[in-house]
Symmetry: C2
Subunit: 281 residues, 2 copies
């Protein structure tokens, strides 16, 4: 496994792989690799010939009051995870490589970026879109792998890829969960013991939604209230949003019809967790 | 010469050229081709193997009160110009190909986009950067050709290329002028006879600046005043800006030092003309 921290080395390695006729898979991450990331690496390993994992805690997607500084950076164990999963190349640049002095170009996906998580985290998706575009340009992967847990991110990147005529194909992998249903996230480690137990409420709320819809519920507002009241009765939980939106436009729907995204964000103290469910009605 | 109006055909032709080992040159234009564009085509013809000219009047770079509708679109004569200059491929898409329904991704180069022409034309450079990025992604040229007349556009695109890790090389060609010095522009045809005569004031002002600087003038404000007073005494001319800025940051300078951009924009009725001069002091 190669580990590169500068753009030239990464491009040299990728060019060599490509000149051998290999297809390139990219798994962009912020490190703190967990079972969710591993599922992406495995998909990449299965579907492409040369697997690149980028590890970069991207400052432009954190707000000034967010957890950029304390975001976990367990590099040694991350590299071990990559090695175990037969990754070919890890790209681990520092901030100055990605954002050199004078950097001032940003990509924005209007509309999609300002709702749901974007409403609570202004500038977040601008940072995400910009760094992902840069990684696509640096590595030029055939396929890039993202987790469905970040449903809005996936939607935005898909829009960007289409709008900017990028040639990369996106592969979206299902949410990986703890045995009790909690969606795996690098931020779960911020939770204390009781928060960790109460954090089950997100998945349980989504499971209740799924059952209600199976039984015929089609009213979006009822679904939102199911989620909101579940969170309201969960100790230490504060609802950021409970949304039922069109999966394509991310605009609120009144009635469940077609492909719908049910998503929620909940704060436990300073820790913000998200989870979601795609329903085809 | 091939003429293609859809993305797939363009990409097929470019891919074929590349598979024959040819280098790709791109000249992005809005049509109404003139001697300035021809100089770009010639440079591309000389330096690259397969020359692509795009002709697209880009709606997102026009303000609501600007001349998008009446911008000249002499397609037949443009194609003839391309043919005469041994262009290999003309990409001439319509608006829906470049901006399909639901398009919402934009690139912005903060700071550089809001000064000079950007101050009078809000959103202009966002539209330019976005369409140029799309053309780069569609065509993936080795070299792209731009005219120095649009100095700020060149600066912004250079910044975007660096910031987004694009692999295209930019080639910037000198301003092409009429015998009396007027910088050639598709918009010159909007001028009536007396405006056309008076439009010489831009170049004459810049020539006066060059002489003053040769003779030792280093005060930027004096230079601005030279330009402003020349325009003030020109019948029918209204100064939009007369700027002396750092060629890299586009920020105003007090003293001429290093590489400096002297630029002006002048309105004759509804027609806005620009011209500039790079000085290395």
């Amino acid at each position: 496994m190669n580990v590169a921290s500068d753009i030239e080395s990464v491009q040299r390695s990728v060019r060599q792989a490509r000149s051998r006729g290999l297809t390139i898979g990219l798994v962009p991450t912020m490190g703190a690799l967990h079972a969710g990331h591993v599922s992406l690496m495995r998909a990449a390993r299965e579907e492409t010939d040369y697997v690149v994992v980028s590890i970069f805690v991207n400052p432009t997607q954190f707000g000034p009051a967010e957890d950029f500084d304390r975001y976990p950076r367990p590099l040694d164990s991350d590299l071990m995870t990559c090695q175990e999963n037969r990754v070919d190349l890890v790209f681990h640049p520092d901030g100055k490589i990605i954002y050199p002095l004078g950097f001032q170009t940003f990509v924005e996906v209007k509309g999609l970026q300002d709702v749901l998580c974007g409403a609570s985290r202004p500038g977040h998706f601008r940072g995400v879109a910009t760094v992902v575009l840069k990684l696509f340009n640096i590595i030029q992967p055939d396929v890039a792998y993202f987790g469905q847990k970040d449903a809005q991110q996936v939607r935005i990147i898909r829009r960007m890829v289409g709008d900017l005529n990028l040639s990369v194909r996106l592969a979206v992998c299902p949410i990986v969960r703890e045995p009790d249903g909690l969606a795996i996230s690098s931020r779960n480690q911020y939770l204390d013991e009781s928060q960790r137990v109460n954090a089950r409420a997100l998945f349980r709320g989504l499971e209740e939604v799924r059952e209600r819809v199976l039984k015929g519920e089609r009213d979006a507002q009822t679904i939102r209230e199911v989620l909101a009241s579940r969170i309201a009765t969960t100790p230490g939980a504060e609802l950021d949003y409970a949304a039922v939106v069109d999966a394509d436009t991310l605009k609120p729907v009144r009635e469940l019809k077609g492909e719908v995204l049910v998503a929620l964000a909940v704060k436990f103290g300073a820790t913000r967790l998200i989870d979601n469910l795609i329903l085809t009605v």
